[in-house]
């Protein structure tokens, strides 16, 4: 059972109230991009055992999309944050650094 705090509602939401949206911080490659970029955008996903950044939707609540940083092995949640950002905010990164020193995920560390 996963409980995530919706940063828009400001309260804890149960996994069954949320809709999973897969990996976060994807950069869209659309018309005019190379075949390889487009293929990676569509299909290439990391599937780490450990730290992961994901998109979730507050489906039964406010309906907004938000991001979560959590560990896929222990289910520990490092934090959630609003989706209007291109990278995890510093406060989230600091929490992860405290708990998983030397972490890296895609281009973030």
């Amino acid at each position: 059972m996963l409980i995530l705090n919706c940063p828009y509602c400001g309260c804890d939401k149960d996994e069954t109230e949320l809709a999973a949206g897969g990996e976060a911080h994807l950069k869209r490659f659309g018309p005019g991009s190379s075949d390889q970029d487009f293929e990676e955008y569509l299909f290439e996903r990391t599937n780490p055992k450990g730290l992961h950044f994901e998109r979730w939707r507050c489906a039964f609540g406010c309906g907004k999309w938000f991001h979560a940083a959590r560990c896929t092995a222990t289910l520990e949640v490092f934090g959630t944050y609003k989706a209007q950002t291109l990278e995890p905010p510093k406060v989230i990164k600091d929490v992860i650094t405290t708990k998983r020193p030397g972490w890296s995920w895609r281009n973030f560390s």
């Binding site: 509602c9 069954t16 609540g61 907004k64």
Partner: protein, 182 residues
């Protein structure tokens, strides 16, 4: 559907006398907030809460959505005053009265009956009087407003009103108490 009532260790009643509007607007705008207050007489609530003044209620649905509730007799007047007050703003106002249903739960154990059906924390510290929360009841979406410690409004889609009514009657049945209180 006429009002119906169930007597259990918490009482369940349907309230068919409410009109409801969905209002989508930029709720962070002080100008829009002032216009809404002017039209309804109710201050725009903070997230996770609901304000009631003189029968008219404003409930926080999301960062850009309010649910406006009032007795049916006030519906027309309320609609017009919101239209006028927000005529210069980019907003959406829609009458959803026929799409929604409202039930009232009353009794000292309302928090327990809610907790049986919704995956939410109903402890007074997390869900104090005045709180409004969107969640699910068993398999369908719904919203809860804790008006008083022993009085809760439950709002759901009208298409699932029979299901929600049956759920709450079942959860409130005598003999199904979880915590025995004095």
């Amino acid at each position: 559907m006429s009002d119906r009532e169930f007597q259990g260790y918490v009482n369940v009643t349907q309230d068919t006398g409410q009109t409801m509007f969905t209002l989508r607007a930029t709720l962070s705008s002080t100008k829009i907030k002032a216009a809404i207050k002017l039209a309804t007489g109710v201050a725009v609530p903070k997230r996770g809460s609901c304000h009631v003044v003189g029968g008219c209620a404003l409930a926080w649905m999301s960062p850009d959505e309010l649910l406006v509730m009032a007795p049916i007799a006030q519906a027309e007047k309320l609609r017009v005053s919101l239209d006028v007050a927000l005529s210069e703003e980019h907003v959406l106002l829609e009458d959803v009265s026929d799409a929604r249903a409202k039930f009232i739960l009353s009794g000292t154990n309302v928090r327990e009956v809610l907790a049986k059906l919704a995956p939410m924390d109903t402890h007074p510290e997390k869900f104090p009087v005045g709180s409004f929360n969107r969640t699910r009841f068993a398999q369908v979406a719904g919203a809860v407003f804790l008006e008083q410690d022993d009085l809760v409004s439950v709002i759901c889609f009208r298409s699932v009103q029979d299901y929600v009514y049956a759920l709450f009657c079942d959860a409130a049945t005598h003999g199904s108490e979880v915590l025995v209180r004095e």
